[in-house]
């Protein structure tokens, strides 16, 4: 898929990937081997009928193609952009073994964009069931569950704590990967299904889960995400200039600090930035730092490049944009100046030892390898845990040792009757599409509950 040149994109937050033209899309779709086993569709957590939509694209029936996708997926323009297709549909494609798999994500994005530019028809409203469901959190799991339930005729209200809808899609994923305009369009589509979104409503503070049930909601779906930032717990971590990835990305994405002072929320970047971690949030933060004008941006990771959990595409994008990779390096202490600002990181070099429980080779410190790395800003992007707001305010809701809500894997039902959960509040930090799969599965179980009672 065509992309903006690295030179152009490091100066703006505009979308990096440019998308297919009609001709490119049709030509790509015609590469599909139409294999009878449909391995691509097997790899999709929301069960999009991939070969069928690809065939419609090949026949230039773009409207038919987007309708086919939307039967299963209410957020196609988002999934086409942020799904890790290489691990799912595209990873299963027969072409993957022979070289380049079919660009399924790019085709999904193409037909979704085609429809949006043309104007999306709101679907006909189904007959009202008279039943009400509350969804807590408007991220990918919540939006998907809400859309599925609204399609069945249930009244759905989403309670969102922040002022903008979309959860991690709004606060976590930068404009250059997922333009906010596209997010807004998909959120508007979900509203057009009859879903009401109430922003500024912190469930766990303003109302409890039990109060929602008492207020007349027949079921509650909890999808409050992985909002708890992890820190390294090493000396000096509270110095000025050290951000969690969540804070850095919320300032940039949700609060638009990259437009300060037109927008009121500030951010400090300085000239030397180190992002600690190797996941997608680390890549996002590093690429934001480049665009905010930092002179040198480095990703610091304790294992080697091969072990980084980030999508390969995002690692390559960061690389092209001039991000340095300081691999096999572990921060052990932050060093501050006399005014409380971070000025350097004391680090250790590592080597890879025996494989650990995750199957990856375990990083082992090299004795005597201490060195200091000068910095103005540090972003700690070593992961996040389940948001504790609902678990700590809901007695009787079972959570595991990490604070993740425990569910029945088939239905999403929690230890409380009529209360379901899904997405990162259960998984602790997974992908958009897995969260959507959870939303879909819980919606099915909720619908069955409502049909029974």
């Amino acid at each position: 898929m065509p992309k903006q040149s690295p030179e152009a994109r490091v100066r703006s937050f505009e979308e990096v990937a440019l998308g297919f033209t009609k001709e490119q899309a049709v030509a790509e779709a015609r590469r599909c081997l139409d294999c009878p086993k449909r391995p691509c569709a097997e790899g999709c957590p929301v069960e999009v009928e991939i070969p069928e939509f690809i065939r419609l694209v090949a026949n230039k029936d773009f409207e038919g193609a987007i309708e086919k996708i939307k039967e299963k997926n209410s957020l196609p323009a988002i999934c086409g952009r942020v799904c890790p297709q290489e691990d799912q549909c595209e990873g299963q494609c027969l072409w993957a073994k022979k070289g380049q798999s079919l660009a399924i994500g790019a085709l999904e994005r193409f037909v979704a964009d085609y429809e949006r530019e043309k104007g999306v028809e709101p679907p006909p409203r189904p007959k009202r069931s008279g039943r009400k469901v509350a969804v807590v959190g408007s991220g990918p799991a919540g939006l998907t569950a809400a859309a599925e339930l609204a399609r069945k005729g249930h009244t759905v209200v989403i309670f969102e704590a922040l002022h903008g809808s979309g959860g991690v899609l709004a606060y976590g994923i930068p404009e250059f990967r997922l333009p906010k305009e596209i997010l807004q369009a998909e959120v508007n589509y979900i509203k057009s299904l009859g879903v009401e979104i109430q922003t500024d409503k912190v469930v766990g503070k303003l109302y409890s889960v039990r109060e929602l049930l008492a207020k007349g909601f027949d079921a509650v779906f909890i999808s409050t995400g992985a909002g708890l930032p992890h820190f390294m717990n090493i000396p000096g971590e509270n110095l000025n200039g050290i951000y969690s990835a969540n804070e850095f990305l919320i300032r940039v994405n949700l609060m638009r600090a990259y437009k300060f002072p037109e927008y009121d929320t500030p951010i400090n970047v300085g000239s030397r930035v180190v992002v600690v971690g190797g996941g997608n949030s680390a890549m996002d933060a590093a690429r934001c730092a480049v665009r905010l004008g930092a002179m040198e941006v480095a990703i610091m990771y304790r294992r080697s490049r091969e072990e980084m959990p980030a999508r390969l595409e995002e690692v390559l994008n960061a690389d092209e944009e001039g991000v340095r990779f300081e691999m096999l390096t572990l921060p052990v202490r932050f060093i501050g100046d006399d005014r409380g600002w971070v000025k350097a990181i004391e680090c250790l070099r590592m080597r890879l030892g025996e494989p650990d429980s995750s199957g990856r080779r375990k990083p082992v410190p090299i004795e005597g390898s201490e060195f200091t790395f000068p910095v103005d800003t540090v972003v700690v992007a070593i992961g996040q845990g389940p948001n504790p707001m609902i678990p700590t305010s809901t007695k009787g809701l079972e959570v595991d040792g990490r604070g993740a809500i425990v569910i029945n894997q088939e239905t999403g039902l929690t230890s409380m009757k009529r209360v379901y959960a899904g997405g990162d509040i259960v998984r602790g930090g997974a992908t958009v599409i897995e969260a959507m799969g959870d939303g879909k599965r819980a919606a099915k179980a909720i619908h069955e509950q409502l049909s029974r009672t």
Partner: protein
């Protein structure tokens, strides 16, 4: 959108805004705060609740106009609205019958003490309040505090009203010369809360402070408000805003409060120029 019911100037640059927010008014408890975002481009600013009225459905907060966001907020009139008003956030104050409770407030820290003092007194505590400001003109919520205190003491830095000196001087003399308080609650600038904690430490009096850390989401997601308490990193927004003052690392808090000072100054200059330019 949340409607502004009233906007009162209590002192130069210090205003009280009352916002229509019935659900928050019903749930609010002493010690909690709200987040306000004035307009589409606004930042999320945390402000401690100064009063709430479930019957009228209103929540009030007192703020000082120190930057673009608070200037914008202060410029709004009744009938106009703020874009977002979120709450009640944070853990409520611990309310119980402690015995003799001293409330120490400085500047815009006085109003948040008011709902606490009101409830503390209802619970049978003897409430002794010490309120202060740089000068008499800047003293706010005197009458409100008087109405809910058994004793009210006033201090101003320049002596233009009440005792000449800091609230901490007055606090020390009250502790040394009177019955020892069972609990001290201090709300005000970080430096004042630090000084209060230093005064009470040798007397071993439990001292609760309400921290005014920088926040973004204010629901526990970003960690901007992290502070060391008893050697552990805590988030002011969810674990606080109240902590044991004897355990708070105030030096770290004060350094972190300076994070955006330069940028905020530049932004305020720009804002004021744009206001002048019409």
């Amino acid at each position: 959108m949340y409607e502004i019911i009233s906007m009162k100037e209590l002192a130069p640059k210090i205003k009280m805004v009352e916002v229509k927010a019935p659900e928050i008014a019903e749930k609010a408890q002493p010690g909690q705060f709200i987040v306000v975002r004035v307009d589409r481009n606004g930042e999320r600013i945390p402000l401690t609740i100064a009063d709430y009225d479930a019957v009228r459905g209103t929540v009030a907060t007192v703020f000082q106009e120190v930057g673009v966001s608070t200037e914008k907020l202060g410029g709004l009139k009744p009938g106009e609205s703020v874009m977002d008003f979120v709450g009640p956030l944070g853990t409520p104050s611990e309310m119980a019958s402690f015995g003799r409770v001293m409330m120490v407030g400085g500047g815009v820290g006085v109003p948040p003490l008011y709902p606490q003092a009101r409830v503390m007194r209802k619970l049978g505590n003897t409430v002794v309040s010490i309120i202060g400001a740089r000068t008499a003109d800047l003293l706010v919520f005197e009458e409100e505090m008087r109405a809910v205190s058994d004793e009210l003491h006033i201090a101003t830095d320049d002596g233009s009203r009440g005792f000449k000196g800091f609230v901490t001087d007055l606090l020390r003399s009250l502790i040394e010369n009177g019955p020892k308080p069972d609990r001290v609650i201090a709300v005000g600038p970080a430096i004042m809360m630090k000084a209060v904690s230093d005064v009470t430490r040798p007397f071993n009096i439990k001292t609760i402070v309400s921290l005014n850390s920088i926040m973004v989401d204010a629901t526990g997601m970003c960690g901007a408000c992290r502070v060391s308490v008893g050697g552990r990193t805590r988030f002011t927004c969810v674990h606080g805003p109240e902590f044991d003052g004897h355990e708070v690392d105030f030096e770290e808090l004060m350094a972190r409060l300076r994070t955006y000072m330069e940028r905020e100054k530049a932004s305020l200059r720009r804002y004021k120029e744009s206001q002048r330019g019409g």
